[in-house]
Amino acid sequence: MTTTIIAPSSRGAEKPTRKVTRRRFRISRDWTLGLILGTLGLVTFVPLIMLFELSFKNEQQMADAMWLPALPLHVGNYVRAFSMMGRYMVNSTVFVVGTVTVSIICSTLTAYALARYDFPGREFFFMAILALLMIPGILTLFTTFIVTINLKLNNTNLGIWLPLAAGAQAFQVVVLRTFLASIPEDFFEAARLDGASESQMLTLIALPLAKPIMTTLIVLQVNAVWNEFVWPIMVLSRPERYPATLIIMRLGALIIDRDLGAQYAAYVIAGLPILILFAFASRSFIRGLTSGAIKI
């Protein structure tokens, strides 16, 4: 118990003997915590490890022992899965790119106007957006569906892009506005003295500063749209237009032509793009969330 008291309070210059005590204490404590967190993390990952393992097995190996690893690995599952999933991966990509582009451009411009300019109705427009945060999506889900049908946007890309972009506006505008309003006015004043135009102040000053927060918003939205399945089920009636994450539900329900190994490989493939995105963006994403950069 004595170490508990000495260790964390001992900062700055100290005798070497104490340092040794502290280090040993630190390591053992980190080990204990690491062991607990590692075990829980492993349990969290069990379903995914199982999926990964199943994706390399053939049906005979599954019949022998469903959940135990087996050799040889059947990489052919992935080849068949890729040829099945190709067009749906393209569908998903088109949905994601279109939605995020529309959404981020609209929300950035709106947030910038609300944050940096004083114009009649500014408060009103901001409250109108803020009020949307209180309305649960389920209230408007079915009437939005009818609007989409009436605009003849079902089974089209716009029918996915526009409603999903609209759904993200409130959150994105509020977060971006808070950030843009926090940029010191001096930055803009200096640019103005240097002869920058209003649009240059947006592109040369505000956007570069907002890059980390926009990255976080984009990652969140790419993830959300890639994973969205309720809206596509509602507005897409033709399965060939389905996104990848939705078509795998159909693979699971197939009775004839069932290819279990390829089916599990397809599950893995459906998650791959997000994994790759995360590999590139995880650092700034984790920083963004941990530093509390996203404020409402």
Partner: protein, 314 residues
């Protein structure tokens, strides 16, 4: 350009001209906001107004609706399926979702916070956030496989320890609890990061003073860290209330609310009313009731979990 040197006019008119002058000066602001507001009018404000209005009608989505007053609300509040299956299920699932989202990520964050080796701490942040890359439908399919009565992992384990296999999602008695167990051990990565942000914001001196005073780990956790992450708890509770009341992914993709209404929730009944039975009026009324519930719960949450600390988080 209207200038202030115009003829003396009625006061309201000059005020109006002044506004007009400011509108013309900042015309580009309205252009910048036009994209957002076109989207919002078409896919948010109009649908919201439409849902409120049509909740008092027998609308089927396409033909001209007839006004029926409170009939939709009355039939929801007297429906056995809704009041005796869907609502209790939602309350149970919702309370559990809120509790587990508030507790387990906090415990995880408290442990990560205590790790002194920075690389190790970062590794665990990454480890717990990583599962968010798994698409919801893949997650659902994998857990469904684990629960499979014939070849599922859980029944294999039960057989291994000599217990009787269960039907899990296929048995009305176990279906709801099977849904609640999903995601074990429930340390949500985003929640963990939100809590960790709160913990890292606690001044180092506060923690050190407590340690010097001889506060053990548990005391430190309950007396110091827990009260100081109240803003984060509030945020997580709000997000989960909203989510718990309207999520129906498992019902839509797997259980269809069954077996025998065991897993149904109001949001799923609403989906069925609209998309299967074309009763958009009734679905809108259900949406209104859920909206009012979310609203009241948010107010209660704000009043109940008060804090002087600045409100921030993910």
């Amino acid at each position: 350009m209207p200038s202030s040197a115009a003829l003396p006019q009625a006061k309201s008119q000059t005020a109006f001209l002044e506004i007009l002058r400011r509108v013309r000066k900042r015309w580009y602001c309205y252009v910048m906001m036009s994209g957002t507001f076109v989207l919002l009018v078409a896919f948010a404000y109009y649908p919201a107004a439409s849902a409120i209005y049509h909740s008092f009608t027998n609308w089927d989505g396409f033909r001209h609706p007839e006004w029926v007053g409170l009939k939709n609300y009355r039939s929801i509040l007297t429906s056995d399926t809704i009041m005796h299956s869907a609502v209790p299920n939602m309350v149970l699932l919702g309370l559990w979702q809120i509790l587990r989202a508030a507790i387990f990520p906090f415990l995880g964050a408290a442990m990560v916070y205590r790790i002194r080796n920075e690389k190790l701490a970062y590794f665990f942040r990454l480890l717990y956030v990583l599962p968010i890359v798994v698409p919801g439908t893949v997650f659902i399919q994998v857990w469904r496989q684990l629960y499979d009565p014939n070849v599922g992992l859980f029944n294999e384990l039960l057989k291994f320890v000599g217990m009787k296999p269960l039907l899990f999602l296929n048995d009305p008695k176990t279906a709801l609890f099977s849904l609640m167990f999903i995601g074990f051990p429930w340390i949500d990565g985003v929640g963990l990061l939100v809590y960790l942000a709160g913990l890292l914001a606690i001044p180092r001196e506060v923690i050190e003073a407590a340690i010097v005073d001889g506060a053990g780990d548990l005391r430190r956790l309950v007396r110091i860290e827990l009260p100081l992450v109240v803003p984060q708890i509030r945020l997580i509770v709000i997000l989960n209330v909203i989510n718990a009341l309207q999520s129906f992914g498992w019902q839509l993709l797997v259980t269809q609310g069954g077996p025998i209404e065991a897993t149904t929730v109001p949001a799923w009944e609403m989906y069925r009313a609209a998309m299967v039975e074309s009763r958009f009026g009734a679905a809108s009324a259900m949406g209104m009731l859920l909206f009012v519930s979310v609203f009241l719960l948010t107010l209660i949450n704000n009043a109940a979990i008060r804090s002087n600390i600045e409100y921030q988080g993910g």
